[in-house]
């Protein structure tokens, strides 16, 4: 059975620095595959290669067995890859609703329509409202993005990513900067998404990782030093030495 996402020998160098050192990774449909590792391990670089913003120096990326290594960013998005950013990336000049309508619009045919106002496209707006309700922002539709709290912006970010009806989600530290309550809400949301999407989750929040992940890969200096289910990873001595270390004491306590 072909994996939803597979990377084969992915390599990326920046000058003398190896950011991705022969990474073989798979994400199955319906699973949450978390990628953890110390800062500078190359996690964001990995996601950038998967989404298409950076071209790898070697290796291949396969979506449902199809080689997408050379495909541009927008084409991968249309094939079903949705991505969220570590640093919130939305459209600050538009309202919350308009942000998500744009996301929906991207997958609703072409946009060479010059006369009909977007506000008249009821179907798009309805889908946007649904996505926003799912992300908990139903009350803030008309609010300009500038007025949102940080956590609400992250929710908007997630709503936009989900509104594109992806099959594979690449989530780059979605809990970054969130309060405890906001993180818990996001974990609940992601738990409901499990099974419907394949999710590659890059995160530092170990609670969330161990709650959600079906599999965990540990990335250190661009290499996957271990990959397995959460229990196996927690027990792995190399992983504890390289990363979990002191955290293990906190988790066990």
């Amino acid at each position: 059975m072909t994996s939803l996402l597979a990377t084969v020998g992915l390599v990326k160098r920046f000058g003398g620095l190896i950011a991705t050192d022969g990474v073989d990774l798979t994400v199955e449909a319906g699973e949450v595959h978390a990628v953890i590792g110390p800062n500078g391990a190359g996690k964001t670089t990995l996601i950038n290669q998967l989404s298409g913003e950076i071209a790898p120096d070697a290796g291949r990326i396969l979506l449902d067995g199809r080689d997408i290594t050379g495909e541009p960013v927008y084409r991968r998005a249309l094939m079903g890859i949705g991505r969220s950013y570590q640093i919130t990336s939305v459209f600050p000049e538009f309202s919350v609703l308009d942000n998500v309508v744009l996301a929906v619009q991207a997958h609703a045919g072409h946009s060479f329509s010059f006369w009909r106002p977007l506000s008249a496209e009821a179907a798009l707006i309805e889908r946007a409202r649904t996505a926003l309700a799912q992300s908990g922002l139903a009350a803030r539709l008309a609010t300009p993005v500038a007025a949102l709290a940080h956590g609400e912006r992250r929710q908007l970010e997630m709503a936009m990513t989900l509104a594109t009806s992806p099959r594979l989600l690449l989530l780059d530290e979605p809990m970054a900067g969130m309060s405890l309550a906001e993180s818990e809400r996001l974990v609940t949301l992601l738990a409901t998404l499990k099974g419907r999407y394949g999710i590659l989750l890059v995160e530092h929040d170990m609670d969330a990782v161990f709650k959600l992940a079906d599999r965990i890969s540990v990335l250190v200096y661009g290499r996957v030093i271990a990959c397995g289910d959460p229990a196996a990873i927690r027990a792995n001595p190399e992983v504890r030495a390289a990363y979990l270390g002191d955290q293990d004491a906190a988790v066990a306590a």
Partner: protein, 327 residues
């Protein structure tokens, strides 16, 4: 819509109507005062307003700062000039030729320029405009440096542009049509994509938009508006000259947009009116008026951002607020 926003929207309509209404009355006022001077001046203003509105589509709404759009004015002007030189006086043929050439050039140049962004984009558009400027100068058989005189204004069959009044109202009509079309466009799917690209292009691509084709389309549309402005300019002066494509002309368009207020459709019209009238007045005082205009532009950039149109809208909105019933 909150009351404050509604007042601003209404104020915008009021200012726009006043502005365009005022422009519509110019020929009548001009014939009362006597002499064709004012109608010529205002035809010029309307033509450059049209070009500025065209450029504003990609500059104000798409954040694509083209420092070379005057070359499309030149293409329009030379289409009329060259065809007229060879005996083709039909406005329809001239229009078709101008739009065809303009579209091809815009697609080619647009594709090259849109491979870059930011400052590089600005520099490259400037370079290509310069190329067309030199090209026009090198065309000795079409006047070269001195330019090309046009024997007669364009003939559109049912009407010709020979009369100053007809030319004026044609230009004004095209301007109003363009304003209406663009007003719809910026809120359409296409307009939202363009504005999204200005806001966060990286995210647009990640959402699944092939951004290049939309930016290129917007570039071509704005170029064609300038081509039409160029045709009208050639008709006004009965002259096609390389100077229409000089880099200063492109700079002037940008000044009009910023002066009038970016981010609005009608803003550039106010900017064109202000800049060209200011030039008329200043050049009456001294031939060295540029030395005032230069630093004035620098000051405007450093201080005011909303522009004249934005200021007028603000004033009108506050007027309405003062006149409204106490809340």
């Amino acid at each position: 819509m909150s009351p404050a926003v509604r007042r601003r929207v209404d104020a915008r309509v009021v200012v726009a109507v006043l502005l365009l209404g005022g422009l519509a009355l110019v020929p009548m006022i001009s014939s009362l005062i006597g002499g064709p001077f004012y109608i010529t001046l205002f035809t010029r203003i309307v033509i450059f307003a049209l070009a500025a509105v065209g450029l504003n589509l990609i500059l104000g709404y798409g954040a694509l700062v083209s420092f070379g759009h005057a070359m499309y004015i030149g293409i329009g002007a030379y289409a009329v000039g060259i065809l007229s030189h060879h005996g083709v006086g039909s406005g329809w043929i001239q229009l078709a030729a101008a739009l065809a050439v303009g579209a091809v050039v815009a697609v080619v140049i647009g594709l090259v320029c849109l491979r870059t962004s930011g400052m590089a984009f600005i520099m490259i558009t400037l370079a290509f405009a310069q190329m067309f400027y030199f090209l026009a100068i090198s065309l000795k058989q079409y006047g070269g440096d001195d330019g090309l005189t046009i024997a007669a204004r364009s003939d559109f069959g049912v009407f010709t542009l020979a009369s100053n009044t007809v030319l004026y109202y044609t230009a004004l009509g095209v301007l109003v049509a363009c304003l209406i079309a663009f007003h719809r466009l910026v809120y359409s799917r296409f307009g939202m994509v363009l504005r999204g690209c200005r806001s966060n292009e990286r995210r647009m691509a990640a959402l699944g938009f092939p951004t290049l084709r939309y930016k290129l389309t917007a570039y071509v549309i704005s170029a064609l508006v300038c081509v039409i402005a160029g045709m009208l300019l050639a008709n006004l002066t009965k002259f096609s000259a390389p100077s229409y494509m000089a880099w200063q002309a492109s700079g002037d368009l940008i000044v009009m947009i910023v002066l009038g207020g970016m981010g609005t459709i009608v803003g550039p019209v106010a900017g064109a009116v202000a800049l060209l009238i200011l030039e008329e007045i200043l050049s009456g005082w001294t031939t060295h008026w540029m030395i005032v205009l230069g630093p004035a532009i620098v000051l405007i950039v450093l201080t005011a951002k909303r522009g004249i149109y934005g200021y007028l809208v603000e004033r009108t909105a506050r007027h309405a607020e003062a006149g409204a019933s106490p809340s």
